[in-house]
């Protein structure tokens, strides 16, 4: 029971990170219908910017953790957004009217570029960060001494995810930008006829996705304490899996999918084998898609003749 609870907490934490990355995939897919393959690497860049910001802030002498955390969060979100914007501007906008496979190839190209760029400028070795946030709570302890721990990092990750999820759903549901995004999602041509700047809306979608990926990157850094230039690929594939699982194009779906993938991965490693955890995640993706082709919360695709 205690072991189960502990795994549940770990799974929710990991799932939050996947969910935040998955939102970026799902928003971009919703609005322009393409897999932004470089998104996983945007997440990786976000983690690196967060690392640099952390070290810089500690060097500057700011030791009060909440302030430091907030500063890092803002810095990482702002600079990573620039990457999201630039990737869209360079690799996807020129191909907006092109056929579907062209932006997929430029996306894969962008992913290779980002990975190797970071590898060149920051080095290929893993970068460790000394634990910034320590401590936590022991929720319960079994008779044989197995304690269920909820660390402060986990609280921050889950809490921050909830806050961001709420903010973003409100942003999409209530603001004019959100309305513009939903309009572009439904019919880009009609939206532009009604005076919506489609290019700007799409750019902002990428910026929002990148900002969330930056938060996920910071969380990943805090949780594991080590990053390297290659973390983006695996995390990206799993987050995309999460987005598809939840029903691509749906914001709550991405979060649910992320949590499910996180839970599956953690429980599989906890009860079966660590080596095959990715196989479990991918197999479940395939099984869900075969029986539920549009994901959990996705709209079924209507075939038009």
């Amino acid at each position: 029971m205690e072991y189960f609870l502990q795994q549940l907490i770990n799974g929710l934490t990991l799932g939050s990170i996947y969910g935040l990355i998955a939102i970026g995939y799902t928003m971009v897919y919703g609005i322009i219908g393409m897999i932004n393959f470089a998104h996983g690497d945007i997440f990786m860049v976000g983690a690196f910017i967060a690392l640099i910001a952390f070290v810089a802030i500690i060097t500057l002498g700011i030791t009060f953790i909440p302030i430091a955390l907030l500063l890092v969060l803002v810095v990482a979100m702002v600079f990573t957004s620039a990457y999201g914007w630039a990737v869209e501007r360079i690799a996807y906008r020129p191909l907006r009217t092109s056929f579907r496979l062209a932006p997929l190839i430029t996306a894969i190209g962008m992913s290779i570029v980002l990975q190797n760029y970071v590898q060149i400028v920051q080095g290929a070795r893993v970068k460790p960060l000394q634990p910034v946030i320590t401590g936590g709570y022991t929720l319960m302890e079994s008779s044989d001494g197995f304690a269920v721990n909820l660390s402060n990092i986990q609280i921050i990750i889950i809490g921050l995810t909830l806050v961001l999820m709420y903010t973003f759903s409100q942003l999409i549901a209530k603001t004019s930008l959100g309305r513009a995004q939903r309009a572009c999602e439904q019919d880009r041509k009609m939206a532009s006829l009604l005076g919506i700047n489609v290019d700007r809306t799409i750019s902002l979608t990428f910026v929002m996705g990148a900002a969330l990926a930056a938060v996920a990157g910071m969380m990943f850094l805090l949780l594991y304490g080590v990053i390297d230039f290659y973390i983006g690929f695996v995390a990206g594939v799993k987050a995309f899996t999460a987005a598809v699982l939840g029903g691509i194009g749906s914001l709550p779906g991405a979060m649910i999918g992320g949590l499910l993938i996180g839970l599956i991965e953690v429980f599989w490693s906890g009860y079966f084998s660590v080596e095959y955890k990715d196989v479990a995640a991918f197999s479940i993706l395939a099984i869900v898609l075969i029986f539920l082709p549009s994901g959990i919360l996705g709209r079924p695709e209507v075939e038009k003749v």
Partner: protein, 440 residues
């Protein structure tokens, strides 16, 4: 070359403004990641500012964007450089008519067959040629799935891996030679194509793409972790070399050199490998071209153009998709066997997603469904990759940039004409714009 319109102050001003904006974005991009180098000192991680690097990057972007705006005049929406490559009739270069294509194909064949004996061909170039032809074969194999049937497969490397491991394991456990194992490996790969293809038949478009990607990763992870069977990360070594009707390529008295009264030269084996892969690749091409004229090939293309129409006309879409998947997989399996026998050693590291992406990039960059496009793209990508061998750590970066720029420059691929297999009155070249890309 292009004749730039007369410079007016307004144009220069707007170009400078644009370049300044680009430089500002470059500053935002470069400031954190380039500006500070992280390094591990003892147990702590520290930063070292490198502002000069940011300065270079920003200056380079400013200058680059300014030159781009003033000389090429691209405003971002127009495909860059398209103007240069337009002929008078407005037809882009790379769309020769049917006769021209035949001529090019014959010349290419003659060059390919005489390649090992050309004066500049040394061991290094021949090795590179073997690699390029391997990718041409893989590209042609994937072209059946993506280019003809319109099914987006991001896990093609799985079949390459199945072929390679099938041969390696057959050779290790049953002592089979290359020529006996080759067809078995191909059949096994095709079989896996059906196994993986069957559950994904209901999926379309990007869902199919992501599930095939997942299958590719699953196969790699299983190969990596099933230690007793595949050797895990250590891989399989000591895979036998191919023989010419039982004649090995070594120094022994039964060896190739001794049998034919030649002086022993290690290059003989490379030349032999080159011809093996060339023939395998040509077989792939020949089978594809023939299949395109059979009902099954036409069904593939019809499926790519319109799946609903296909079903309405009584085409069994399930069988059509499965045959496309398994045909593509079979050729991938052949190429995998060849890869195993050439390297003599295989490990899961050779079958990562990047390999799938590279093969797909070759197919798309060449022009979906165009056989000659695959050849050109394979030479450009693999050859270009080797060209930058000395710049070791920069070459993947350059490779990525090349992928992005070629695609933006020519979204429909380097060869932008297609020859439809069904036609009225006469066979014609049509623009690639008129060919659908499929939804599967």
């Amino acid at each position: 070359m292009t004749t730039s319109p007369p410079s007016s102050p307004g144009r220069v001003f707007s170009a400078v403004k644009d370049a300044a904006l680009a430089a500002f974005v470059a500053l935002a991009l470069a400031a954190p990641v380039m500006g500070f180098q992280t390094f591990v000192a003892g147990t702590e991680i520290q930063l070292e500012p490198r502002w000069w690097l940011v300065g270079y990057a920003v200056a380079a972007v400013f200058a680059g964007r300014l030159i781009f705006r003033l000389v090429i005049g691209g405003d971002g929406h127009q495909p860059v450089g398209q103007k240069w490559f337009r002929r008078k009739g407005g037809r882009p270069i790379g769309t020769p008519d049917a006769g021209g294509l035949k001529f090019i194909a014959i010349v290419a064949l003659i060059v390919a067959f005489s390649f090992p004996f050309l004066p500049f061909t040394d061991r290094y170039i021949l090795d590179l040629a073997v690699l390029v032809v391997t990718y041409i074969m893989l590209g042609w194999g994937l072209n059946i799935v993506v280019g003809l049937a319109g099914l987006l497969d991001l896990g093609y490397v799985a079949f390459y891996a199945v072929g390679a491991y099938s041969f390696a394991l057959l050779a290790q456990n049953f002592d089979l030679g290359f020529w006996f194992a080759l067809p078995i490996a191909g059949i096994l790969a095709a079989f896996w194509g059906i196994i993986l293809g069957f559950p994904v038949l209901r999926l379309r478009g990007d869902y199919l793409a992501i599930v095939t990607l997942a299958f590719g990763e699953i196969i790699r992870i299983v190969l990596l972790n099933w230690y007793e069977f595949t050797g895990g990360p250590d891989g399989i070594s000591g895979i036998p070399r191919p023989t010419l009707f039982g004649i090995p390529f070594d120094r022994s008295s039964e060896g190739f050199a001794a049998t034919f009264g030649l002086d022993y030269d290690s290059q003989h084996r490379i030349i032999f490998l080159y011809y093996v892969i060339l023939l395998l690749a040509l077989l792939t091409n020949f089978v594809t071209l023939r299949l395109r004229r059979l009902p099954i090939g036409r069904a593939w293309e019809a499926l790519r153009e319109d799946e609903i129409a296909c079903r309405s006309l009584g085409i069994n879409t399930t069988n059509t998709k499965l045959t496309a998947f398994s045909m593509g997989a079979m050729f991938g399996g052949f190429a995998g066997s060849f890869f195993a026998t050439r390297q003599g050693f295989i490990s899961p590291e050779s079958f990562t997603f990047i390999e799938s992406a590279l093969i797909l990039a070759i197919v798309v960059l060449g022009g979906l469904g165009s056989q000659i496009g695959v050849v050109i793209a394979a030479i450009v990508m693999i050859g270009g990759f080797e060209l930058f061998r000395d710049l070791e750590q920069y070459r993947m970066l350059i490779f990525g940039i090349l992928m992005v720029t070629i695609m933006i420059w020519r979204p429909r691929g380097l060869i932008s004409s297609r020859t439809p297999s069904a036609f009225l009155h006469e066979r014609k070249q049509i623009s690639a714009e008129n060919v659908s890309e499929g939804h599967g």
